[in-house]
Amino acid sequence: MLAVLKAENVSKVRESGIFRKTRREIFQNITLELEEGKTVGLMGDSGSGKTTVARIMAGLEKPSAGRVLFQGRDIDSLHGKEFWDYKRSVQMVFQDPEGSLNPRKSIERSINEVLGLLRVPKREWQERTLDILHTVGLSEELLCRYPGQVSGGQNQRIALARVLLLEPRVMILDEPTSALDVSVQAHVLSLLRELQKKLGLGYLLVSHQPEVMRNMAHEVFVLKNGCLVESG
């Protein structure tokens, strides 16, 4: 089966300095495949570049070498509808639950703007909003509040709801729970597991907690000294 998203021999080099360039290789020749319905775990120490791998796969950063393939096609060669297709199908959830929503937009506005982006007719907004809140297990009372007025776990679930509206096929989860309490972490992770079962999502889960990996991932890779080591 063709992987939905594949990073092929991707390397990243950071350059700094204007006059005397210093080059630092973060990682090289990494190949990762994401399929629907499967969770691929990516572990590594802080500073090992696992977040950079995630960002490259989400198209937020360009690799220094290698390419990222979406359904077998290089994402750089995608245009128009195909590119939009890629954008929609590959979504990212960020680490920082407090920061992943604009503090000056009410929850409702944060969700509605995504519906606007998708050109959903306005009369369906309410229904869709309630639908998606139900999916992530939140009540509609939250809609009028601002991100500062809801808890970290709720923020993370609202971020998830926004992403799910786009009906992605794979999601890139960058330490989705490392800033949360264990009890909230359990909530969010079990929700992710449920969603995977229900919607057949593929995950790239970036985390530094081996215990989380053991529970969540079907396949775990460890990023060490810039190389990928598979640990099954």
Binding site: D45, Q154, S190, E211, R214
Partner: protein, 405 residues
């Protein structure tokens, strides 16, 4: 419909043997083993009784700590564990008298024969750092970036007027060396030249400078990755062994507690729900909340607690956990009392509760009955109570605040 027979109280000698605890009859007769004796000699150094802290906010009155009582013994590690916003940091601030102005505190914090709540600002300044030290969350942010490490640690002695500059730097070097940062050149370096782990050690060193009797560590591993966190735990352990001080560890991470604490107090919504020796609490949690919290751990299956954390302005009546509790009953809308459990008691109680958990859904719906039978069972238990084991050491006690017991 429900088995009323008491669980065959295991011949307690068997349990006790398994737990390597001498049976009660041994204690008065033969002098206890050296380990036990050491436990008996433990003395309380800090006692919180009925500490309540209220905040007046624009959203209403927040009861951040509600009737919190616990004690810290000499040379032990007590962990205060709970979710974000349960009031555990407020307790630490109350001990240090660092609460914001809109806070009202009530109760008793007894330390060295004084009630810390009654002390004035000046007297408190003498206690802070010298007798009770605190290590804050983020070491790189808590250190002043433009002062050298040596000066920063030595400052502790100078501020309290215990020594001059050169003398205190000498002492700082000594403390750092014990923590494994022996090189003298390090004293002249700045915090930003150190790694996170080294900064953590610097924080620990400055907490140790005045040889305090209690060190409070507020979320020492928050935001660190697993390797650094493990290192920090090691540092903490080392620190405790070095100084002979007691450690009050405040954290939301049960895994951290398990690896370092002697005793643990579980907080929820401003209340302490359970206190007990760490090993026992982790093996056999008594309170349903403790159990639920532990089940959230990835290694125990990531089972989320149903429902959401209650609001602090309008907490539930009675037991604060009961709306989310899988074992709630009609009685839970009244506040339970903190109850002391002796070892044989809770061992059998746990089995009872486990049996309640195994009951079918239909049976659970008749909550009243359920409680009744637990109560009846308890009574039977009381009648048939075997000789209980009191370790003679208060730190071995378990306390729990739940109607189930």
């Amino acid at each position: 419909m429900i088995p009323l027979t008491t669980p065959a109280v295991p011949a307690d000698s068997a349990i006790l043997a398994a737990l390597a605890i001498p049976a009660v009859s041994d204690i008065p007769a033969a002098p206890a083993g050296p380990e036990i004796r050491k436990k008996i000699q433990k003395t309380k150094i800090l006692q919180l009784s009925g500490l309540s802290v209220q905040f007046e906010t624009s959203l209403g009155r927040v009861q951040a700590a509600d009737n919190v009582s616990f004690e810290i013994f000499e040379n032990e590690t007590l962990a205060l564990v709970g979710e974000t916003g349960c009031g555990k940091s407020v307790v630490a601030s109350a001990i240090m008298q660092l609460l914001p102005k809109n806070a009202k505190s009530k109760g008793n914090i007894e330390f060295g024969g004084r009630n810390l709540l009654d002390l004035g600002e000046e007297e408190m300044a003498g206690v802070r750092g010298a007798e009770i030290a605190i290590i804050f969350q983020n070491p790189s942010l808590s250190l002043n970036p433009v002062v050298t490490i040596g000066d920063q640690i030595a400052e502790m002695l100078q501020v309290h007027g215990k020594a001059g500059r050169s003398q205190s730097i000498e002492k700082a070097a000594g403390v750092l060396q014990r923590l494994g940062l022996g090189e003298r050149s390090l004293l002249k370096m700045y915090p930003f030249q150190f790694s996170g782990g080294m900064n953590q050690r610097v924080m620990i060193a400055s907490a140790l400078m005045l040889s305090p009797r209690i060190i409070i560590a507020d979320e020492p591993t928050k935001g660190l990755d697993s390797a650094t966190a493990a290192g920090t735990v090691q540092e903490m352990k080392k620190m405790k062994d070095l100084s002979g001080a007691s450690l009050l560890l405040i954290t939301h991470d049960p895994a951290l507690v398990e690896s370092i604490a002697d005793r643990v107090a579980v907080m929820y919504c401003g209340e302490v729900l359970e206190i007990g020796p760490c090993r026992d609490v982790f093996q056999k949690p008594l309170h349903p909340y403790t159990k639920a919290l532990l089940d959230c751990l990835p290694e125990r299956g990531l089972h989320p607690i149903p429902g959401a954390s209650p609001s602090m302005t309008n907490p539930p009546q009675g037991c604060k956990f009961h709306p989310r509790c899988p074992m709630r009953c009609t009685k839970c809308s009244q506040s339970p009392l903190m109850k002391r459990m002796k070892r044989t008691e809770w061992m059998t109680q746990v089995e009872l509760v486990e049996r309640v958990e195994r009951t079918t859904q239909a049976e659970r719906e008749e909550r009243t009955t359920q409680v009744e039978w637990v109560e009846r069972a308890t009574q039977v238990e009381c009648v048939e109570r075997m000789k209980t084991v009191d370790l003679g050491t208060p730190s071995g006690e378990r306390w729990v605040k739940c109607w189930l017991y």
